[in-house]
Symmetry: D2
Subunit: 233 residues, 4 copies
C-alpha cells in the first residue's frame, strides 16, 4: 500500500492566523517575521487550547493532497469520510491491472470476540498458507475471467463485476487538517477510559502513513492532537 | 436490485413553507387547511420558480430513508455522494451471503466510443453466454475460497478480500430532497444541448426506483425537476 | 426567543435499525412489533454502545425541522453549523418588524476573565438600567432611520444596514440527530476534566429549547448523549 | 470592502492530475515537465470537458484562503455557503471598531419589481443624501450607545446587540475551486435563457474581487467556467 504526498499548503501558522482573527483581526503579512522560541511557544499554547476546547474551525484552512494505492476494501472505508475530496481510478474507463492484496506475514489472521469488541491474534503457519493460497488462486481465477470477458468484447464496467475487493485501486484524496485528524482518530488504534477503536489493520497502515506526513508538515498541531488523546477538535 | 421506502417526512408543502419564510415569515400551523385547487397552483408556481432560479435550500427540509440491496460496485458509486447518510452491511462484522449480480438479458453488453462518451449496444447471444458463464464461475470460486478461509479460522475481514465487487450488499441511505435530486441528476440518463450523462446502467436502475418513490411523495417538486431539465436546484 | 417543533421523523428505533444493518442486514418491516421491556433494554444498550464508541452514522437517519425566532446575533452563531439546512426571513425581500432583543432581568451582564475563559456575574441595578435604556434608545433610533429611508424610496437591502444585530429574525432549520447533538454539545454549558464550554447565553436558551424537543422525541438517544458527557458521537 | 489573497495551492494542473487518475492512474511527479503549447491545449480541452459534463470532483483538490473585510450583512450571506471554512472576528472576544458601510455614489438605491425579480435604478441626489445622513446618524448613535455600555462594565456580547448589520467585520475564508465557483455563480450577476441571478451588489463586489484572484491563479479553469455560462460543475 502506498500513501504519497502530492501537494499541500499546510502549516501550524495558518491555524494561529485563523484563530487570532477572533480576538485581534487579520494578522497575515506578505513577509512574515521568522519564528522565535517565544513565538513558537505562544503558538503551541494557542493550538493546544484550540484542540482541547474543540475550536475546530481554525484547523480547516489549507489542504493536503495524497496519492493512495490500496485495495478496494480499504477505499470503501476511506471514502465513507465525507469531509474530503476524491478522484479514483475508474474500472469503467480503464482496464484494471492484476494487482491484488495479500496480507504480510506479520498480519494477525484470527479474530477473537464479538462484533464491536474484536481483538486479533496471529495465525498459525497453516492458516497463513491457507490465506496465501486461497487468495492467490481466487484472484487469478477472477482476473482470467475478467480478461476473457474483455477479449470477448464485453464492456469493462460489466466484466469488472468479477474482480475481488482485494484488487488494488488508486486515488487522489484531499483533506483539510481537521478532516484528516478525524480520519486518523477513527482509523488508527486509540484507547482511553471508555473507548477502544479497532480499525481494520489495512486502513490503519494507510492512516499511519498519512499521519507521518501530517506530523512532518504540522508538528505543533500533531503534538496537540496526540496530547488531546487523538480526538479531533 | 431492491430499493424500498423505509421512512420519510417529505412533502411539497415543506418546500413552500421553508421558502415563504423569506418573504412572509413562519407560516406553519398545527392544523393546516386542506389544499385547494388555487393553493396547489400557487404552490406549484413557487416551486417551479425556486427550481429554475436555483434557490436550493427550501428543498432540504425533510429526509427520505431507503433500504437498498445492490452489488458493491453500485454502492461504490452511490457512496461518493457526500450529502447523504449511509449505514451498510459490514463484511467485518458478518459473513456475507452468496448473492451475486448477473446482468439481465436486456442489459447492453458492448461499449462503443471512448471514455466520457460511451454508448452501449446489445451483445450477441454468445457474449451473453460468456458473461453468464464467466461471472457465475468466478463468483462461485471466490465464494468457495471465502468459505474455506472462514472454516480455517481466518478473520472475516481478511477472507472477504476474495469476494468480487459483484457481491450484493445492503444499506440504509438517507437523503434530503435536494441531495436526492442531485443524485438523480447524475445517475440517470439526461441529455440537453451541451451535456449527455452516461451513468452505469446498474446504478441507474436503482436511481429510477428511488425516483419513483420521490415522484409519489413530492409530485409537484418532481414535476418541476423534470421541467427544469432534471438539473438539481 | 422561540423554538417550535414544525416537523420531524425522529425515533430511537431508526438508530437501532440503521446500526443493525452492519451485523444482521435490513430489519425494517411494515408493521413493527410493539416494543417490550426486553427489546427496549436491548436497544438502549446498543445506542449507548454506538454513542460511546463514536459510531456516529446511525444517528443521521431522520430529520427535525424547527421554527426559530431569535436576534440576528444568535442566528449568526447558529448558521455557522454547516451540517444543517436553513431558510431565513429576508431583509432584502420584506420589511423587518420592530422586534428587538432586551436581556431579561436574570441575564448576567458582567464578564470576568479573558477571552476563551469567561465567567459571568450578575449586573447591578444600575447596569441593568443602562442596558435597558441604551439598547431601547439605539433600537428605536435605528428603526426610525430605517423607516425614513424606506419612506424615501430607498431599497430595503440598503436601508437595513442601519438595523442592529439585536433585531429579531425568524428561520426554519432542519438537522439530523447527529448534527443536533453536535449543536447542543457546543451551544450548551458542558464541563469535564479538560473542557469548559461557554456559549453565549442567548443561543444556549435556544439550544435548551431544542434539546427539550429532542429529549421528548428520542429519549433513549438523549439519555445516552447525557451519559456520554454530552459529547456528540 | 477588502478581499485579499492570503494563501493558496491552486493550479489548473491539479485539476488535470486529479481527473486523469480515472483513466490513466497517478501521474504526479516530483519534477513536472514544463508545459508546452500542446500540453496546455490538451489540458484546456480536458478542463472544458469536465466543466461541461459536470464532473465536479477534480475541481476540489486545493484550497484558497482569503481575508475579507465587509459589513455584517455581507458575511450573513457569505456564510450560508456551507462548503467553506470560516474564522471571523468575534464581538464576544473583542471590542468592535467604529467602521461602517456607506454605499458609494454609484450604488443604485431604488429597487423596482417584486421579490425574486428585482431590478435596480439609480437614486436621486436627495435619496443619496438621505441614505448618507440616516445611516451615518444611526451608526454614530449605535456606536455611542455601545461604548457607553462598555464603559458601564457591560459584557461585550451584550453591548454589541446595539451595533448595526452595516458594521464592518473581518474573516478568513477558505474554499476549494468548486466551492468558489458555486459561490461566484450565485453571488455575481448571471443571465441565461431561463435564469437571472440578482445578488445584492455588496456581496457581488466581494465576489468580483475573489473572482479576479481565482482567474489569475487558475486561468484555464476560469475560462472554462465562463464558457460554461458561469455554472459551477
Amino acid at each position: 500500500m502506498k500513501v504519497q504526498l502530492v501537494d499541500h499548503n499546510l502549516s501550524d501558522s495558518a491555524v494561529v492566523r485563523a484563530a487570532r482573527v477572533s480576538t485581534v483581526g487579520g494578522t497575515h503579512r506578505l513577509l512574515p517575521e521568522p519564528p522565535t522560541a517565544e513565538s513558537t511557544e505562544r503558538d503551541a499554547g494557542l493550538i493546544g487550547y484550540l484542540m482541547r476546547e474543540r475550536h475546530g474551525s481554525p484547523f480547516e484552512h489549507g489542504s493536503l493532497t495524497l496519492y493512495v494505492e490500496a485495495p478496494i476494501f480499504v477505499f470503501r472505508e476511506w471514502q465513507r469520510h465525507r469531509i474530503a475530496s476524491y478522484n479514483e481510478e475508474s474500472a469503467r474507463y480503464r482496464e484494471l491491472k492484476p494487482d491484488f492484496y495479500l496480507p504480510p506475514v506479520d498480519r494477525d489472521l484470527v479474530q477473537v470476540g464479538k462484533p464491536g469488541a474484536y481483538t486479533f491474534e496471529p495465525g498459525t503457519i497453516e492458516q497463513l498458507a491457507t490465506v496465501d493460497t486461497e487468495l492467490s488462486t481466487a484472484y487469478r481465477a477472477a482476473y482470467e475471467a475478467y480478461e476473457r470477458m474483455l477479449a470477448a468484447g464485453i464492456a469493462r464496467e460489466i466484466a469488472r463485476a468479477a474482480l475481488p475487493v482485494g484488487t488494488y485501486s488508486s486515488m487522489y484524496v484531499t483533506m483539510n487538517p481537521r478532516g484528516l485528524m478525524n480520519f486518523l482518530s477513527l482509523r488508527t488504534h486509540r484507547q482511553d477510559a471508555t473507548f477502544v477503536s479497532h480499525p481494520q489493520r489495512e486502513i490503519e497502515v494507510c492512516a499511519e502513513k498519512a499521519e507521518a506526513i501530517f506530523r512532518a508538515l504540522m508538528p505543533i498541531t500533531h503534538a496537540a492532537f496526540e496530547k488531546n488523546g487523538r480526538v479531533a477538535p
